[in-house]
Amino acid sequence: MQQLFLFLIRFRAFFVFAALEILCFFLIVNNNSYQSAVFFNSSSALAGRVAEYTQNVNDYFTLKKVNEELARENALLKRQLIKYSDKIHSDSVENLLVFDRKFETMAAEVVDNSVNRFTNYITLDKGSDHGITPEMAVIGTDGVVGKVMHVSDQYSVVKSVLHTGTNISSTISRFGNFCTLTWDGKSPKYGKILYVPRHYDIQQGDSVFTSGYNSIFPNDILIGTISEYSIDEGDIFYDITVELSTDFQALSYVFVVKSFKKQELDSLQQVTIPNEE
């Protein structure tokens, strides 16, 4: 027994090292799930506050760009409003559909962002106090941004599209097919589109949108345009590079999308689609 204690004391540094490394391993694994401990990431009050203060300084340098972006979006919305105002006055079945709201958006400021890592996250200045919950979609003025991962009272952490674990159901608008958006970890400007079979006649410049099949993202949100594609002899699927429409390096304001139908859809799918065991 004494020998054992002597052994433990002699190599205590190694045992402490091993124990803490194992703890780290569990933290790393746990971090990738959506329902994990909240306080150990930048949505925590301290980290969020620091990021916000830093962003307050940065805000002044990006004012002009944000201003231009807002003006551009205003113009776009005004155009759409004119288009819809005719419809509302005419009595039609479509009228009813306009009021059948599926999604609601909420603006949030980006207080922290990264684009050069393999796993990039965005911190927003809105949290559960503002009605944000994990797995909500986040979109920007130009297109898809990411998915909410962790939420605290005041802040939330978003898993950016620029994350090697990204999987977003998408569609090429010309075909209406079913494919998946991922990121290969290389350039913050380009993503990859998987599972487009070879019988589709793809062209450079084809637009890719979200498909809306997963009830998190609304359908028809722009992802980007196809910039390169290739297929080898004998391959089933194309190798497609898509130029992302969102400029992640200059992200300042985003919209968090609340889906009213998500719960209903999810519970329905649980009943009708049996889980694979």
Binding site: C24, I28, N41, S44, A47, V50, R117, F118
Partner: protein, 174 residues
């Protein structure tokens, strides 16, 4: 004298963490070279600190950085490895100095010794950070490229900061 230098070490460490999470976090050279100046805290742990306490310091510093980088566990495990290997490195390659020193820094130990020491340990640290984060075989060469670029950048910044904060005396802020 000695407790004075330890106090300076603690205050300097807090300052470095603050700089790391507010400024250096957003600095990435050529999209590949990251700056992890905070590693200097672990490189310069006073010799009077025991091995187990070194591990605890490494773990806590890593965990704190992780909170701000949204990478819980990755920096902590890298810092743990660094603080575990550091005493072993020192055992075989202790700086030869005329006077006994408490804190290993570039002025105390000499430039060439410190360069080898910091490069080896920082390289180890960045290997863990980038390979764990990538965890993908197809990204091997890009990851290796990032590791080398970041190691050079980090060591360079550590050396510059140490030379800048040097006062005439042997014991300094870092």
């Amino acid at each position: 004298m000695r407790s004075d230098s330890n106090l300076k070490y603690i205050l300097g460490s807090l300052l470095i963490i603050l700089i790391q999470i507010t400024i250096l976090k957003n600095i990435v050279l050529f999209d590949v070279a990251f700056c992890f100046l905070y590693v200097a805290i672990l490189l310069n742990i006073p010799f009077t600190v025991g091995r187990v306490w070194q591990l605890v310091i490494g773990f806590l510093v890593g965990l704190l950085i992780d909170v701000f980088y949204n990478s819980i566990g990755i920096h902590a495990s890298a810092c743990l490895l660094l603080t575990f290997v550091r005493p072993i490195y020192l055992q075989y390659n202790f700086p030869r100095t005329p006077d006994p020193i408490n804190i290993p820094n570039v002025k105390n130990t000499g430039f060439s010794w410190y360069l080898g020491y910091s490069f080896f340990l920082v390289f180890l640290h960045q290997c863990v950070i980038f390979f764990v984060e990538a965890s993908n075989k197809s990204l091997f060469f890009l990851t290796l490229y990032k590791v080398f670029a970041s190691t050079i950048f980090t060591v360079l910044v550590i050396l510059i900061v140490q030379y800048l904060t040097v006062s005439g005396r042997k014991e300094r802020l870092l």
